[in-house]
Amino acid sequence: MIETLEHTTFDVQAIRQQFPVLNRLVKGKPLVYFDNAATAQKPKVVIDALTEYYEKYNANIHRGIHSLAEEATAAYEATRDTVQQFINAQHREEIIFTRGVTESINLVAYTYGRTNLKSGDEVIISGMEHHSNIVPWQLVAEMTGAKLRVIPVDDNGELIMEEFYKLLSEKTKIVSIVHASNSLGTINPVKQIIDAAHKAGAVVLVDGAQSTVHLDIDVQELDCDFFAISSHKVYGPTGIGVLYGKKHLLEAMPPFMGGGEMIKDVSFEKTTWNDLPYKFEAGTPNIADTVALKAAIDFINSIGKTAARKHEDALLQYATAQLETVEGVRLIGRAKHKVSVASFVVEGVHPQDLGILLDNQGVAVRTGHHCTQPLMNRFGIPGTTRASFAMYNTKEEIDVMIAALNKAIRLLR
């Protein structure tokens, strides 16, 4: 019922009006913004929340007793509650604010990883990870003597699950896996991965950088041990992200950074740690952006993820069909389940050349390796051109991109 209702009320023009940047021109042409997998644009409510915080109640949180500090603290903590509901975490203190997914993964690698890994242990990642879910594990593997194992990717851009099951063993201590690939859009079967990893005695971190904006996230149903979220990819501000972690794991983990807020008592002989979540939030946090993240999540909830996803899926299907009509275009990533990412190469054309010529026609796409060099090597390409769609994009914009693409190819050949 709700789904039908949401679908019938989905009005893309009304949504577009809430995003001021979509009105601007680029090189004299209306902006077509298809770089949403890199960062999403911000609705007016998010921009207003930032301004309002600085204009009305900017204060340092938690320790002040004056009114402004109380208001700022309440707003900051309200975001924690909103995030908790957004991903259905059991406890509010399981929500840790970080600078983003990169910091969330590093936090787990440096605390849980460094404490629990020893020589001979294994960490499993996949062949489609972003560099931010590769490098922290390489660093920690080097410190602990643990080994990194990689689930291979097939020609469609899907994980070869049989290989994953073969890699799993009693040596596996951590599985860190991307929920949806930023380069290909592939949605990975994380539930299956989590269940299998748990049976082998490993904990699982899910990199939700790309999935959170599109898919319904229920960390209790997934039963993941850690889940990482980026605010700026869910229409929120940059510089803020979330690490969800199961309470008992977070409690057992040592702190990541030392400083104010994260302590209970400090003396030169011994310092004791604050309770969750503050143990992991050293120093004055990014208050303004955290406060505005709530506005972003409220905005998504007001539209409804189901309705947005239907629209985005339709855009992806349309874009895929249209791209296939362009001579020389080869789609990279043909997984059965995808978020709205269309990645492609054009025979005999360098992605950078395409990106430049599309930009000159007002079309913003991403070109390059998308911080997934091992994946690009897997496909034997230096990079792709990637169009990624958000709820405010339209079919007409895809038509503009296809026309711009045809023109670019004509110029380049």
Binding site: K27, P351, Q352, D353, L357, G368, P382, K407
Partner: protein
């Protein structure tokens, strides 16, 4: 005694050529054409040490001192970059290190290609200019120790 035109004069020529174009696509068509015409670099030079860092595409560049002039050769796997680098070579190559170091290269702005000098990881023109000037500085030092 130099048999090549001064750098500023070559820059002026390029600005004149671009003034014939009204639209962005004509400009890029011209750059792409120059890119396609750039003489390919011998494969022996296409090694890591000749790669210019900071480019999304791969750019190889080599230089040598012939008499008191610096000669540059370059290639890229992206054709627009190749066109841009061919313009830089046309302007800077076959000049003395001192002339190259002092070159302002404001033609890039005047032909509307300033965006390619932006400090992003994807645009390598700035890195190319830096590398060319760095090479010239090295040659200048070599020449001054000889004298």
């Amino acid at each position: 005694m130099s048999d090549t035109k001064p750098i500023t004069e070559i820059e002026e020529e390029i600005v004149d050529e671009f003034s014939l174009f009204d639209s962005w696509d004509e400009k890029y068509e011209y750059i792409i054409d120059m890119g396609k015409k750039l003489k390919p670099l011998d494969d022996v030079f296409k090694k890591d040490e000749n790669k210019i860092k900071g480019c999304q595409s791969t750019v190889w560049m080599v230089s040598e001192l012939q008499g008191d002039k610096v000669i540059y050769k370059a290639e890229s796997d992206a054709v627009i970059v190749k066109g841009l680098v061919s313009m830089l070579i046309r302007v800077l190559s076959n000049h003395t290190p001192q002339e190259i170091i002092e070159a302002k290269l404001d033609f890039i702005d005047r032909i509307g290609m300033k965006q390619h000098l932006a400090q992003t990881r994807s645009n390598g023109l700035l890195s190319m200019v830096k590398q060319m000037k760095l090479d010239a500085t090295v040659y200048l030092a070599q020449l001054s120790t000889k004298n």
